[in-house]
């Protein structure tokens, strides 16, 4: 007999133990997310409840307001929501074509060595901490913006502006978008490419009509991740946003204010309502991200129906 009954029993027990162990880990990590959201919710909702110790805030005027001034006790985030949406979407708009074409080059066109080198550069870019992007933006991008504005005869606030935020975010989401696109393009079945080439399509036609079409679902997933990063980026954005007190900001050379920069600026030097209201802003940010992801996922399903990756 090859089968040792004792051993079978032990293996079964071990199986049971590990199943429980992994489940405990999964519950632990997912409960963190729940705890965080619950905490932010509790803290963020409190200013709008009657009997709030620093004086109840009106929810409607908070959500629709167009002035945010701690010194006057005016807290309106309506314009900040719009600012956040604008900066993130324009950043995505700039970054998306650049990333997809870069990914196509790395995945399909570049010679092997160059492709490997470029891919590690992209991965490296993804690993750069956001504060480093921030100092780069405040040192370089603001200078470029200032110079650009001077061409139109506009004086900026030292280069801090909506444009600087958009450019910064476009650079920051580039690695995410690119590496997701590379993965998606590389996952396209080589049989499809062969079929296309065998039909007399050129390399370029094959790359655009087959590789990109088949990979669009994965590329779009990258865009969703990138947009999430653009919404959520705080440190670097706060360094070049300028934190305008009212808005929304549509002029690219004017300073702006995003949800994240609002939460971050002066967090440690404040107490009372001004401190608590940041949790409300955080709650708004969570809801904004949740909704835009939900909408994008619907779009993704629609465009991804014929996709394989």
């Amino acid at each position: 007999m090859l089968i040792d009954k004792k051993r079978v029993k032990r293996n079964k027990a071990l199986d049971k133990f590990f199943r429980g162990f992994f489940m405990a880990m999964a519950i632990l990590s997912s409960s963190f997310i729940v705890i965080i959201v619950l905490f932010v919710c509790a803290k963020g909702i409190s200013p709008f409840l009657p009997g709030y110790e620093y004086g109840q805030v009106d929810l409607i005027s908070f959500l629709t307001g167009s002035i945010y001034r701690q010194d006057q006790g005016l807290y309106g985030v309506g314009f900040i929501i719009i600012n956040t949406l604008i900066s993130a979407f324009i950043a995505l708009l700039i970054s998306f074509p650049l990333s997809v074409l870069t990914a196509l080059f790395i995945a399909k066109i570049a010679p092997k060595k160059l492709s490997a080198a470029m891919q590690s550069v992209v991965e490296l870019l993804a690993a750069v901490p956001s504060v480093v992007y921030g100092v780069f933006a405040s040192g370089v991008i603001t200078g470029i913006v200032e110079w650009l504005a001077s061409l139109f005869g506009i004086v900026t606030y030292g280069g801090s502006s909506l444009l600087a935020v958009v450019l910064l975010l476009a650079i920051m989401i580039f690695p995410t978008l690119t590496s997701m696109s590379i993965t998606a393009i590389k996952a396209v079945d080589p049989n499809l490419e062969q079929a296309s080439l065998a039909l007399g399509a050129t390399r370029t036609q094959t790359n655009f009509k087959i590789c990109l079409t088949a990979a669009k679902s994965g590329i779009f997933a990258g865009a969703i991740l990138g947009l999430g990063r653009a919404y959520g980026e705080a440190t670097a954005v706060a360094m070049v946003a300028g934190n305008k007190l009212f808005g929304p900001t549509f002029n690219p050379f004017d300073i702006t204010r995003t949800l994240t920069s609002t939460m971050l600026a002066g967090l440690k030097e404040t107490t009372g309502l001004d401190y608590d209201i940041r949790f409300s802003v955080g709650l708004v940010l969570i809801v904004v991200i949740f909704f835009s992801n939900w909408i994008l996922n619907i779009v993704k399903k629609r465009i991804g129906r014929n996709s394989v990756a």
Partner: protein, 251 residues
Amino acid sequence: METCFDVKNIDLFYGEKQALKNVNMEIYKNCVTAFIGPSGCGKSTFIRCLNRMNDLIEGCKVEGEIIKDGLDIYSPKQDIVDLRTRVGMVFQKPNPFPMSIYDNIAYGPRCQGLKDKKKLDEIVMTSLKQVALYDEVHDRLGESAIGLSGGQQQRLCIARCIAMSPEVILMDEPTSALDPISTSKIEDLCLELKKDYTIVIVTHNMQQAARISDYTAFFLMGEVVEMDKTDTIFSHPSDKRTENYITGRFG
């Protein structure tokens, strides 16, 4: 009978490894020519020489000549895109593009710059009719081709190939991933299509070669052991190795 391909002294190397050794043959127009042989004998490698799909493999080197219409297809004068529009290919695994049925068939002509909707409609319809798929899918041309069954997908791939009105259709084990019913449909199709096209087919299945082909070539270890009329190959093979293979003594 008119010659479609005149193959002269083809040697093919994957890096250092020689995969084809001195292959010589003539492939005739409007005939079905079958390549048989055990796995790894070079039959798939050879069929891919005929539309230069081997160009895509890194380190693959071809020596010798394949004359088509008076021009060596491996000469620098040969335009690859032009060659591939005239020599179409159907692959082992059905590989429809992730688009609608209509777009799949219109893909080739569109790549050549055809935009006229009426002409495209006509090409799609006639191609589907030729592979007997039209009745099955005519009411859902706008739906994804991925939703078709395996046999339907393979017929779609043949239709996609026909849409280019090629002279030759190369088929690399087109039925190995299909069930018997779909297989017999494709076989009937081959017999139908040879009126208009020259067909070259690689098959693992000797009965299939016997059923549908006019000429058969037996490959073994990168060489063509014997090539003749299919009847002759299966009834009076001149080489002992061919006889051993078709009687099932190895392979």
